[in-house]
């Protein structure tokens, strides 16, 4: 998605990500992709 793609700690667990977002006052960046992984 960006030049620093490999540095992004992707997960696929939205519920856990929302919990983290709440506790750390962040947003969730949600990527629906078909790109090679």
């Amino acid at each position: 998605m960006t030049d620093k793609e490999s540095e992004i700690p992707w997960s696929s667990n939205l519920d856990r990500a929302l919990e983290t977002a709440r506790s750390q006052r962040k947003h969730v960046l949600f990527d629906f992709t078909a790109a090679p992984m």
């Binding site: 667990n13 949600f30 990527d31 992709t33 078909a34």
Partner: protein
Amino acid sequence: MNENFVPVRVHVRNQADEFKRLGERYGVQWTPTILVVDPTGEERHRVEGFLPAADLLAQLELGLARSEFARSNFAEAERRFREVVQRYPDSEVAPEALYWAGVSRYKATGDASALGETARQFRERYRDSSWAKKASVWGQPAASPATAASPAPATR
């Protein structure tokens, strides 16, 4: 990016069940689709289709600003919208951010001159954008806050 976001990714083939479940929840019908989701799970911004990195980063920052605005955090929204204009002045979203920065200041302060000032800025830059047309009504002498921006400023 990690400073502002918790990143989640689902793949249309490798995680087909999750993709279907979450795609239906957010009405996703194309890839790539990137959402800025607030901590309550509410979608605040959407980018459909590929964008180069700089354009995508501008979109994500616009999304954070829109999220603040949607949650009536108008001073913070203004700060973030202005940051988009400053950091990405040549991006597609810069005129939109300039427009909403003016609205955010008006909503935060109730001072209609923020709208007139925004219209003045649009006479100097982004003149061909649709956002300049939208702001042009604020630059007319007869414009009042009631006609220029229908929602009342928030009182916080």
